[in-house]
Symmetry: C2
Subunit: 343 residues, 2 copies
């Protein structure tokens, strides 16, 4: 069977003895049209199985109904959840999402943005790569008057919409929680990279200590890549160095997990000997033994927020976009790894 030629607005126009412009107006809800013709057009469209050609529409109108979305890694729970949030909002507004990943490589990031522009997306939602220091590709987006929303990994160098969580607050809550559990010598795992989010978590840790009358101790702060192996290494150093500590607040669940393994291997009880708190609320945190207390970043909500900022920008007068920064409040999810039995 030959697949029949797709029907266009001209086919509908011909059948109704009107012109294509009339059909177009009827289909787009243009008010300057009579009720009768509108109904006739819609009926004919249904009967002829008409499907609008968005490409033609995009060429003419300049709007593709596409959002370019760039993440470092698609298959990480945090990012895929953000994509999910964006997709939900976008779909409900009849927009589609194109995803690309940078794998933290600057060149990929540049190329992805360029590809998005070639595809004539209506705007971009992105998290910038760890190694990104130049922002010309993003500036091009803004120069073209397209909405750009950054999430999680942002930069003050771009005047545009941003969505982040309050890392300071998350760390402050985590540290305070440990103090309230009776911990006094609290270790912190942080990152070597001078990224804002880790600096903020460190600041939250320090301030929580000070606010509770505990003097921060530099020898309790460990810097690394925050992966599982780093957590293991730090914990081994703590044990071998016979450091006196009763809790660990790690800026990443992975490093916390590594520490938990080493602690248990050395016969230390979590949480009674060492209480443990991570950050990210990765899905695995509820499956560890004991389950790991962590800081929830609400990634789906973060994606929804980013999408909302995006559409606000899209619908506002282009010359009056006020770069808006939305800060999401994190939540401490207390699990057994930090809950001490009352003394």
């Amino acid at each position: 069977m030959e697949h029949s030629k797709k029907t266009t607005i001209h086919d509908i126009a011909e059948r109704l003895n009107v012109t294509a412009s009339t059909v177009s107006r009827a289909l787009n809800g243009n008010p300057r049209i009579s009720d009768n013709t509108r109904k006739a057009v819609l009926k004919a469209a249904r009967e002829l199985d008409y499907e609008p050609n968005q490409i033609a529409s995009a060429l003419r109108s300049g709007r593709t109904q596409l959002i370019g979305m760039l993440v470092p890694t698609i298959n990480r729970a945090f990012f895929s959840s953000i994509i999910r949030g964006v997709e939900e909002v976008a779909n409900s507004l009849d927009y589609r999402v194109i995803v690309s990943q940078s794998n933290e490589i600057f060149e990929n990031e540049e190329n992805a943005v360029k590809a998005f522009l070639n595809a004539r997306v209506d705007g971009i939602i992105a998290s910038i790569g760890k190694n990104t220091e130049h922002f010309n590709h993003y500036k091009q987006v803004l120069d073209r008057g397209l909405p750009l929303v950054l999430f999680d990994r942002t930069t003050p160098k771009l005047q545009t919409g941003q969505v982040v969580i309050d890392d300071y607050q998350g760390a402050y809550m985590a540290t305070t929680h440990l103090i309230e559990q009776g911990c006094e010598r609290i270790v912190h795992f942080t990152s070597e990279r001078k990224i804002d989010i880790y600096k903020e978590r460190y600041r939250g840790y320090v301030n929580a200590l000070q606010d509770h009358g505990i003097e921060p101790n530099h020898s309790l702060v460990f810097s690394g890549n925050l992966q599982l192996e780093d957590g293991r290494k730090h914990a081994e150093q703590l044990i071998q160095g016979k450091v006196d500590f009763d809790a660990i607040f790690s800026a990443s669940d992975y490093a916390a997990m590594g520490a938990m393994q080493v602690l248990k291997e050395n016969g230390l009880k979590v949480p009674d000997d060492v209480a443990l708190v991570g950050f990210l609320n990765e899905p695995f945190t509820s499956f560890t033994d004991p389950p790991l207390t962590s800081v929830n970043q609400f990634p789906i909500e973060m994606g929804q927020t980013a999408a909302n900022l995006f559409f606000n920008a899209l619908n506002s007068d282009k010359k009056k976009i006020i770069p808006k920064k939305t800060v999401i409040q994190p939540e401490l999810i207390v699990r057994a790894s930090s809950l001490r039995t009352a003394p």
Copy 2:
């Protein structure tokens, strides 16, 4: 600053005193053009900062360089990894991926496919929803001569490219492994749903038992939703019913995890009292205590394979697409939950 009008092939043509068609040919690697003009065009294009308008190109050529990708849930490790695999291959061939999720709702699935068609994607890669029983929306895709590749959740009712893993083989390996560890009364957790993949895993379990001279015992098979809670329930039944068993092979890591929790709560040792094997190789499996043996489905490779099938179909003579089914061999990843110390 006004953002300057985007340059088109006409701008390049004007500058070089040639026509737009010449420029188009030069840009597209058409051989019917002199070396000199080609170089001149490329040079001018660079100088004028020319960026091709893919929308115009798509309207004219009928190819959008877009793939529609439909998954049940974006933020699950298995699916996001598949998206990653598809994205990698697609990007390398200058294609982009539009993602949508069905959330296992049939209507969403239909709408997503329709939206993809309206966006004039060059084809679709999809995993069908659990509750999908009609396939007209997919048939439309095929009727239009567009490539369609199904992965993981497929159906014999559609004559098109498919990528699945060998569920039978995965289950067979898992069960055999448990037998080799000395287990003889092996419980199986399966799904109530009559989906092929669970039937295959059940078949692999049964055949492995029989091939090793163990008679399958119906009272050791538990059917549910394979979520964590189901695993807990099954394990509680096993213990309360004083069932004699020494291993569990679960068709899902989540149910295996639930069972592990209950076993430990009841003082049973994993793996020495009960050896445990899951299925999916979810990221959390390496973080449980003990780490959970599981069956790896190679999701990234699955995505790459799906993308390769897609591009093969795209580039082949449309009338001669041979519906090809690719079966990926899974891998048993042995971790401590099933490794018994030698007796």
